[in-house]
Structure formats: structure tokens, C-alpha cells
Amino acid sequence: MPEARSLPLRNIGAAIRGPSIAILLGFLAAAVLVLLIGKDPIEAADALWRGAFGTPNNIAGTLALATPLIFSALAFAVAFRGSMFNAGVEGQLIIGAFLSAFVGFSFDGLPALVHLPLMLAAGALGGALWALLPAIWRVGLGANEIVTTLMMNFIAIALTDYLVLYPFRLPGQSGSAIRTESINPSADLPSLWPPYNVTIALPLAILCVITAWYVLRRFVVGYEVRMVGSAPRFAKAGGIPPGRHMVGVMMVSGALAGLGGAAQVGGVFNAFVSPFATGLGFNGVLVALLVGNAPLGIPFAAVFIGALQSGAIGMELTTSISRYLVAALTATIIIFVSARQFGGRRLPWSTVARGRSPQPRAKATDPADGTGS
């Protein structure tokens, strides 16, 4: 694995080269598309840049969009390093967000110093619990976690939609976006850069990234998790309990996703709104994949994707090129990245094999994949 080498600078060079090529190819494809519809790609790129970084307002918008992506990408990456494919980041984020909003508006008169951590903890707890079920199903029964986490997303969406529409409905609202009552000011995440939405969630996200990186790299448990992920047979032979690590890593993953949801509630919406996370979880997956699930790369990739999204709005306003171009661009980049990562040089990731021969039925009856015990 790359991080096992001792030359950090060479690692960074190699880590940057791949995504850069993919990003370049993605932009080329998008430029061709813009040319085909008879518009100027240079002008579009300029508008995109100004939309993302042109004014302090736009820079703040980019950072505000990047913050939840750091959490959701880290959530996916941590699980992935421990051999779990968490396709349910979106649902965990939503459940975490709802629980944090509930704590945010239910408690009155708490000092912010107590209320804020409580709200964030509620978010983390909600996400962790939502991730716990698929983890147990995987470890206990061998039920493929890709499918169960994916399905849990839609259950989370429907469940919170119900909660917002019926038990927690604020009277007198109509329309497509329904919200709960607002959280108390003591649960508001303070802004680092008033009046913008750049809250203390951003440094908190970066702190989580550094912690995850350090634990994976320097702690025994991090080593064990990485071994379960990259060399399950070696890990088993060495007496590392794979099942316990899989459950643990999924709960950490869910907790991070839930923190992302809490950050959205406390920093952006000040309530739970339904629909809540339209694509935050899945975009987080893309952010993590862009940097090969390396925690330290995630903040940069998140700012990149955040900049694309915030720039797209500016581009649509000034050049009348649809903002959806950016979704297609992001998808193209990820397709190039995934082709690079799994082609040519084979990285020892367990999902290389899993992506190619996933047989849920075979898996269910085959205890030899190291998860049955």
C-alpha cells in the first residue's frame, strides 16, 4: 500500500498525478460538450472559477459546500480501508441530522457549551446506529453490506420524511420542502466568518481527517483495520478478529456521516428539512474515491467538488450553460479515476475482487470469506 513506503514526497507526487490526469480528461470532455452546443469553453471555465472563488461570498459558498463532503467522504474512506463498502453514507447522514435537530430543538436553556456537543454527539450516534445494523448483518450472517447499506438510504429518507411531515410538523407550512421547528440558538454552530455559513464544522471536519489518518497510520487498531481491509487472510492468521473490526469501522463511518448531518443542521438549515441530503452522501463517496480513500487528500478533493458545485451556479447565471454540466463532469472524472485505480497496477484492495464477482447468495453460504467467525 502506498502509505507503507517511507518516502512521503514521492508518495504525494504519485497520489496527485492520477487524480490530476483524470480531472484534466474530465475537463477536456466537458469542454468538447460545451463546444458541441456552440458555446465558448474558456468563457465557461472562467465563469466557473469566478463562481467558486471570485468573491468572498463565493469562496464562503465553496467552503460551506465542501464541509459536509469532508465528513461524508471520510466516512466512506474509513469504512473502505476496513474492507467495508459503505454505500449508505447518505442515509446515515440523514438519520444523524434528524437526531441532532431533535436534540437541537428539544432542549431549552442549556448553555451552548453543553448543548452544542450534545447535538453533535446525537448526530454521530444516529449515524453510527444506522450503520450498525448492516455491519451486524454482514458479520453475523454474511449479508452483503453494499446492498443493505444502499437500501437503508431509502428507508432513512422515507422515515425522516414521515417524521417531519407528521409527528414533528410545524403547522402552517406547505410546499415541497418541509422543516421541523428551528433549533435553539444554543445549538447553533458559531460562524468563523460572519455573516457566511463557514462554521466551526470545517475545522472539526479537518480535525476528524487528521485523527483518522493518524489512527490508521500509527495506532495498533489502525494497523489491524488496514490489515483486515487489505489482507484479510493475513489478518486472520495473525489473530485479528475481522468481525469486530468490521463492526467498529462501520460505526465510526456512520458516526462521521452523522456528524456531517449535524453540521448541516447546526450550520446551514438550523432545522431538519425534508428532503435533506440530496446527494451529499453519494458525492462524499466520489470525493473519497477521487483521492483513493486517503484521509489527508479528502479536504482538498472536497474543496474541489464544492468549488465545482458552487461555481456551476455562477456559470449558469453568467453564461446560461446549465449547472448540470458539472454533475456530468464530476461523474466523468470519477469514471477515469476508477479506471486508473483498478487497471494496470493492481492495488491490493479487497473491493477489486468484490466488485467483480459479488454473489450475495454464494457469499451467504460461504463462511470462508473470513466474516463468519
Binding site: T148, I334, S338, Q341, A362
Partner: protein, 302 residues
């Protein structure tokens, strides 16, 4: 019974996409990009149908476009060894972004494109005459019939043709398939192509058969429900078809409940909850569970 007729209608896109998903699942690939293929199929069928005035040209163009898209995804997954789930997420995003982008180019920033053309209905008098079931079969869209007819056809392909045999071998035991001289890559590419073509029909049925329009992200998770049906039915055509129809009926029931103001969320959960439940029930080692108490009493009596 009254909900079954509209239920079959709403189920038909899910059924067609799920039938496509059977091929890739049998060939050993987790394909969550059914959603993206369907969306592209819906878009192309509406745009070409509106431009040429012929729904059949629209359907044909959708089949071509989706087959090409599925084969491209197959290239990334099979030849470039991309992770199928990751590439699937990306293809879904690509389909959503590209169709919305092109739609807004065509309509100058609009959110939907209407078409006057729609797929014709087909009455099968001998079926409509059946007591009780007659209502169910009265005047369904032509692709509904195609979908229902494809269920036994696909079961036959999988069970009785050499292509089906190869496909199952590749999915269940790739090494054995290679040893037996099966061209694994070619078989998997064929599975992707067939999957794309069927998802094109699914998209066309949704856009031209049911709604006569294309709107941004109009599939709204139907492809994921189709994927759930494939998992639910363990890629066996009749069970997948049953699951797809049940999920479609749930959708129709939800629509009716919404109209009268009842909470629909728990009905909307049904496909996902059922799929997880079936996955878990299938994963329990029943034989061991059943044997254990018998063993225990034997020890106790001895």
C-alpha cells in the same frame, strides 16, 4: 384487485429494468446503474420521438443509446477493472447530469419536455375475457405485454441456451468457466448489452408509455428499486418479476394514499425493507439452525 391494473402499469418500467439487471447479476456484476440507463432511455426516447414524430424510432434510438452506454460501462468495469459499484454510482450521476444538461439546452432552461407521441395500448380480448382477472389485463400498454412475455423468455435463455449457461457459469464460478473454455469477458459484455437494451425499454415505457414527457431525474429511484427486485428474486426471472410487480403495486398504492392525504412513507419503504428481509432470511444458515435443537434433545435423552 382494482389496484392491480394501475399497479401493473407502474410496475412495468421497474419490471423491464429488473429483467435487464438479471443478466448482469447472473454474469457476476453488481449493477446499480440500471437507474442511469433507464434515465438515458427515457430521455432519448422522448427527444427522438418528439423530433421524428415516431414513438418507434424513439424506442429504437433509446435501445441503441442505452446499449452503447451499458457497453461503455462494461468496458470500464470489465476491461479497465473499475469497481462495478463505484462506476455504477458515477454512471447514475453522469446520466442525471447529462440528460438534465441536454434537456436545458433543448428547452432553454426548462425542467421538462412534453411529447404528444405515446406508446399505443394493446387489447388482448382473450385475456380481457377472463373473469376476475379481466380488469387487470384490459388495455395495457404494449411494453407491459412485452415485459410480461419476456419473463419466460429470459428464464428459458438462462436455463436452456448455451449463452445462459455460460452466463451462469461466469457469475457463479469464473475459474471453472475459464477452464471450460468460456470467454468470460465476451459473456459479460453480452450481459451488459442486454441489460442496457432492456433498461432502454424501461425508460421508454416510463416516459412514452406512462407520462408522455421527460423531466429532470424522472426515474426517481425506480432503477434502484429494480436492482432491489433483482436481489430479492436472487436473479431468478419469475421471482424477480414477482418482486418488481409487488414493488410497482406498492408504488401505485402509495400514489392513491397520497391523493387522499394518508402517510405514504411506510409504503414507499416496502421494496427496501422486503429486500433486506429476504437477503437476511436467505443468509441465515437454516439447516444448522434447524438441526441444533434436535441435536440438543438427542444429547439430553442419552
Amino acid at each position: 384487485m382494482a389496484a392491480l391494473g394501475p399497479g401493473l402499469r407502474t410496475a412495468s418500467p421497474i419490471l423491464l429494468a429488473a429483467l435487464g439487471g438479471i443478466f448482469t447479476q447472473r454474469a457476476g456484476v453488481f449493477n446499480i446503474a440500471l437507474e442511469g440507463y433507464m434515465l438515458v432511455g427515457a430521455f432519448v426516447s422522448v427527444v427522438v420521438g418528439a423530433a421524428t414524430g415516431s414513438v418507434w424510432l424513439g424506442v429504437a434510438a433509446a435501445i441503441v443509446a442505452c446499449t452503447v452506454l451499458a457497453l461503455l460501462m462494461g468496458f470500464v468495469v470489465l476491461s479497465l477493472r473499475g469497481d462495478a459499484v463505484v462506476v455504477g454510482i458515477a454512471v447514475n450521476l453522469l446520466a442525471a447530469g447529462l440528460t438534465a444538461f441536454l434537456l436545458q439546452e433543448i428547452t432553454n432552461g426548462g425542467a421538462f419536455l412534453r411529447t404528444t407521441a405515446s406508446l399505443p395500448n394493446l387489447d388482448l380480448p382473450f385475456l380481457a375475457g377472463i373473469p376476475l382477472l379481466g380488469d387487470l389485463f384490459a388495455s395495457q400498454g404494449i411494453l407491459v405485454w412485452v415485459a410480461l412475455a419476456l419473463v419466460p423468455v429470459i428464464a428459458w435463455i438462462l436455463a436452456r441456451t448455451s449463452l445462459g449457461l455460460r452466463m451462469r457459469a461466469v457469475g457463479e464460478h469464473p475459474e471453472a468457466a475459464v477452464a471450460a473454455g468460456v470467454n468470460v469477458l465476451r459473456t459479460q459484455y453480452i450481459a451488459f448489452g442486454l441489460c442496457g437494451a432492456l433498461c432502454a425499454l424501461a425508460g421508454a415505457q416510463l416516459a412514452l408509455g406512462l407520462l408522455s414527457l421527460f423531466s429532470i431525474n424522472m426515474t426517481a429511484g425506480r432503477g434502484i428499486i429494480a436492482f432491489a427486485a433483482v436481489i430479492f428474486g436472487a436473479a431468478a426471472p419469475r421471482w424477480v418479476a414477482l418482486a418488481a410487480i409487488v414493488f410497482g403495486v406498492a408504488d401505485a398504492v402509495a400514489n392513491r394514499m397520497q391523493a387522499v392525504g394518508l402517510p405514504v412513507q411506510f409504503v414507499l419503504m416496502v421494496p427496501y425493507v422486503l429486500t433486506i428481509a429476504v437477503l437476511l432470511i436467505a443468509a441465515v444458515p437454516w439447516r444448522r439452525v434447524m438441526r441444533r435443537p434436535a441435536h440438543g434433545t438427542a444429547v439430553a435423552s442419552a
